[in-house]
């Protein structure tokens, strides 16, 4: 009645009906209720939550998608829209590959006993300790892996066994990798085009040319004259990075501006 063309967007925790509608929509709780905490960590570990607010962030991304698509329709047809998201639906969507697999076989996904990278994936997928750090190895056939690193103890496994016997393979592999430094293995793996990288912390990442070249950091000007460093938007448009040095507003900072600008126009 106030604005017929408005795009009205709404986020709830669990939707607006059902027994959970009054529950707090909090990230860790959503992770815990949606099965997500059984995807990370190893088979014998307790449930392991993602160490970031994945439900909040993925739901926010979905909300933006709905709003933008509704703006497109509004431009064509002049209609507004009502966009609804819930953290739970967003987090289920996030697990759509795992859930589709579960619907097909009704087996709760199992994390591998060691070096789990993804409960649905075969050996060697995971992170492995080396003599001086850690390396990640993604999808690679057992044959190519053996050839790249010369691990004879893995030669007895066939490609078909890389899921059913992934614990055995991972145990042998982690034992084989632990005595030599990361770089030693990475040179061999990259020479054979095996998908592998070193596991970095933020300090090592920050020193790397591949990070610096992104220019992902931007400075914001704080109202008191100070500065704060944060990340910019990850999307580039027409080759340009999207940056802005505008900090978060102070409470009510723009009341007057809005009143003088937008509202005065409406009153006219």
């Amino acid at each position: 009645m106030i604005n017929a063309k408005i795009i009205y967007a709404e986020v709830t925790g669990y939707g607006k009906v059902g027994p959970w509608k009054g529950r707090p929509g909090q990230d860790l709780l959503l992770q815990s209720m949606s099965g997500l905490v059984y995807t990370s960590g190893n088979g014998d570990d307790d449930p392991v939550p993602f160490g970031l607010a994945i439900a909040d962030i993925i739901c926010g991304a979905h909300l933006v998608q709905g709003i933008l698509a509704a703006l497109i329709r509004r431009h064509k047809k002049g209609m507004g829209a009502y966009i609804e998201l819930s953290l739970l639906e967003s987090l289920l969507d996030f697990q759509f590959e795992l859930l589709t697999t579960y619907y097909a076989n009704r087996q709760v996904p199992e994390r591998s006993l060691i070096n789990n990278g993804h409960p649905l994936l075969s050996a060697p997928y995971g992170i492995y300790a080396t003599f001086d750090g850690y390396i990640a190895i993604a999808m690679v056939s057992i044959e190519n892996l053996c050839a790249a690193i010369g691990c004879k103890s893995l030669l007895g496994f066939t490609q078909e066994e890389t899921f059913s016997k992934r614990d055995e393979i991972k145990i042998l592999l982690s034992d084989f990798l632990k005595d030599k430094p990361s770089l030693f293995w990475l040179i061999k793996l990259h020479k054979s085009s095996v998908w592998a990288m070193e596991v970095l912390d933020w300090n090592k990442m920050k020193d790397h040319e591949a990070y610096k070249i992104l220019k992902i950091e931007q400075e914001l000007n704080l109202p008191g004259g100070g500065k704060i460093v944060t990340t910019r938007c990850p999307i580039r448009i027409n080759g340009e990075r999207l940056t802005s040095n505008m900090a978060a507003p102070q409470l009510g900072e723009h009341n007057r501006k809005i009143k003088e600008g937008l509202l005065s126009k409406l009153e006219l």
């Binding site: 099965g35 449930p47 160490g51 497109i72 390396i135 990640a136 970095l200 933020w202 992104l214 999307i235």
Partner: protein, 381 residues
């Protein structure tokens, strides 16, 4: 009317990042056409997970590619390439996630495509961007999690770096590229101009860490320290985490330790009256709490905590979740059917529009299934 009705998307991408963006656009009503290599198609068609196949097909391929069309074309063959260019000429959006240089060699780089279709939204996902020492490295989820510091945020402090067990980098890069596509499509409607939208998985996974990276940048580059026990988030105080009970697990989010001490009758916590200690002494606090919570069943604790509005939940796996009314009322499951009669249950789009769930029952296409249909629709010569 669907939000993206009449929007035509030509999608060259494979695996998950680009195709997950295409899926969302299809959900909202766009016509999404996968351009696939003859004989093999999207590599994901043969990516079997967990040894699960549905009548010989990959479950994840069907989840990612439902409600799309398939046009098979050999981009190295001049005739096929010519046809694809005719499709591009009539499209609103194209998406690819090839490695740097591949589209240039095929003559499908942005500058060339712009000559065919000046108004196109050209979207690309790379692993690490188009420059720098890692530009030729594969953009693979686990590897991006590993180089970006992400693996140091999950699990307890004594554990190895622990990857998140879902392809979070692919999915976020897909979400970001979908946002860029939709925003530039909107701008195109106003100005008529096309755009180049670029997302790298590396930037997407750094964006995902924006809160914690902002702490790191501004506090003298202190690395995150996961709590030694019951870690939920490296930057959050006790009790935040998951706790074992006598018959399962209980999640506890942010909460007042003294209030919890009273409610749970956990006397050991009473000495932590200063809320500053809830962060600095979180390992101690969590250990006391863990020893206490394991003595009773989950429902015992929930019956105490929920009426007191403490943020808590029972930890569930898929099997337990699906027995819950709270799951059932969402009607999240979607049955789709392929043209050859294969039925697959997957999840629907999480976005509801004007009170409606978005649920198309069209399954993933067979390779090249829509070549002749599309040749007619677009009068391809």
């Amino acid at each position: 009317m669907k939000l993206l009705e009449d929007v035509i998307v030509i999608d060259f991408s494979q695996f998950l990042s680009g195709p997950s963006a295409g899926l969302r656009l299809a959900d909202m009503g766009a016509q999404v056409i996968k351009i696939e290599k003859p004989t093999t198609g999207d590599i994901c068609r043969d990516l079997y997970v967990s040894d699960v196949m549905i009548e010989g097909e990959s479950t994840i391929f069907h989840a990612i590619n439902r409600n799309k069309q398939s046009y098979s074309a050999d981009l190295k063959n001049a005739v096929d390439l010519g046809k694809v260019k005719q499709l591009i000429a009539k499209a609103d959006v194209m998406i690819h996630n090839f490695r740097t240089g591949v589209m240039d060699r095929l003559g499908l780089d942005y500058l060339t495509v712009k000559q065919i279709n000046p108004g196109i939204i050209y979207a690309e996902i790379t692993g690490y961007g188009n420059e720098g020492p890692w530009k030729d490295h594969p953009g693979q989820d686990l590897l991006l999690q590993s180089v970006s510091g992400l693996a140091w945020l999950t699990n307890n402090n004594h554990n190895m770096p622990t990857p998140m067990g879902v392809a979070v980098v692919d999915i976020l890069a897909g979400a970001h590229v979908a946002q860029g596509i939709l925003a530039t499509l909107y701008k195109k409607m106003i100005s008529g101009e096309g755009a180049l939208v670029q997302v790298s998985m590396f930037e997407s996974i750094l964006d995902f860490q924006f809160e914690v990276l902002t702490c790191f940048y501004n506090d003298g580059n202190q690395l995150p320290v996961r709590s030694s026990v019951n870690n939920g988030h490296a930057y959050i105080s006790a009790p935040y985490g998951i706790y074992k009970t006598a018959d399962g697990y209980l999640a506890l989010a942010m909460g007042n330790i003294i209030v919890l001490a009273d409610l749970l009758k956990c006397d050991g916590l009473k000495k932590y009256a200063d809320s500053a200690d809830w962060f600095t002494m979180r390992d101690e606090i969590k250990s006391i709490l863990a020893d206490h919570l394991v003595k009773q069943k989950t429902n015992h604790w929930l019956a105490i905590l929920e009426p007191a509005d403490i943020w808590c939940a029972k930890v569930m796996n898929y099997e337990q979740l699906m027995q819950e009314e709270g799951y059932k009322v969402l009607e999240m499951e979607l049955d789709v059917q392929t043209s050859n009669g294969l039925n697959i249950t997957t999840t629907r789009c999480p976005i509801r529009i004007d009170g409606e769930r978005l649920s198309s029952h069209i399954g993933a296409p067979m390779l090249g299934e829509h070549n002749s249909l599309l040749d007619r629709q677009f009068a391809i010569q």
